[in-house]
Symmetry: C2
Subunit: 141 residues, 2 copies
DNA sequence: TAATCTATTGCAACATAGTTGCAAAACCTA
DNA sequence: TAGGTTTTGCAACTATGTTGCAATAGATTA
């Protein structure tokens, strides 16, 4: 784990610092998307609020994580797959928000469908967010 | 215009007040989605910030407007079509954000496609936000 | 592994967005 | 137009996010 995280940071040409390691660890431990507040909880008061904001921004810039738009306008972050690179995200998958447990997942295997646009509209990016009940909540009820 | 707005308010069993009229007017004048800040600009300092927040919330509750999730997590509001009613929105259309003029439109004629969900995931709502260049910006370049 | 240079962090202060309680004002009904 | 009810404005507060700058930690090279 520790080594995997260090490798990822080096591969992204980022210096390996305690806060970056701890924050990345949060993402590897949870397999769902995290809000800034979730991360603050996870790392405790070991690091400054500002550091977390800046670290998340750095990770987004480097293509390590991507943001997810949600209907209630909370900012969520999730790990990118390997195909993402700095400044060029490939997260064309659907995001799923569970109304029950409130977790957000990347449905890597569900690709956003292409749609027909009206005359003279040109699409460059499509975000698709589905809400409902996730597999874990369905299984446990 | 004035009468159309008053009718809409009465139909929604809301009392007809100056702020509600002025805020609805903003939506009818602009045919794109509006952020809280846009509305504040439009109505000037005639009404309190808090009143605008509360009025928008009331309109959402009554099915007069709906919110639009955006990739940069700004809250946008747009008029609902007649098929919307209190507590029950039918805005299953695609939303479009222009990267050039930065306006957001409801593409009423483009319906969100249904997608196949993975085992045990059940979808109840789908939001689809497309960004790119709108017809107006394409035509004028 | 010590010296140095650069990148990162923490602090403080600030900016913006949104919420709540309560008294005053506006609206609706009869 | 008098009454009760709803809406508004004000003030204060919370949450969220940003910026500049000095101190610190990480990386590099000898």
């Amino acid at each position: 784990m520790e080594q995997k995280i260090i490798d990822l940071l080096k591969r992204s040409s980022l210096s390996v610092t305690d806060s970056r390691k701890k924050i990345l660890e949060s993402f590897f431990q949870e397999n769902s998307a995290l809000a800034h507040a979730d991360i603050e909880l996870h790392v405790g008061d070991e690091f400054d609020r500002v550091t977390i904001y800046r670290t998340l921004q750095t990770f987004v810039d480097k293509g390590i994580i991507h943001t997810i738009p949600t209907p209630d306008n909370a900012v969520l972050y999730a790990l990118c797959k390997d195909s993402c690179s700095a400044g060029h995200h490939h997260d064309n998958h659907v995001h799923f928000i569970c109304d029950n447990c409130n977790k957000t997942y990347c449905l890597e295997q569900v690709v956003v469908p292409s749609i027909a646009m009206p005359q003279n509209f040109v699409a460059s990016q499509i975000d698709m967010v589905v809400s409902g009940i996730c597999n874990f909540c369905n299984a446990s009820s």
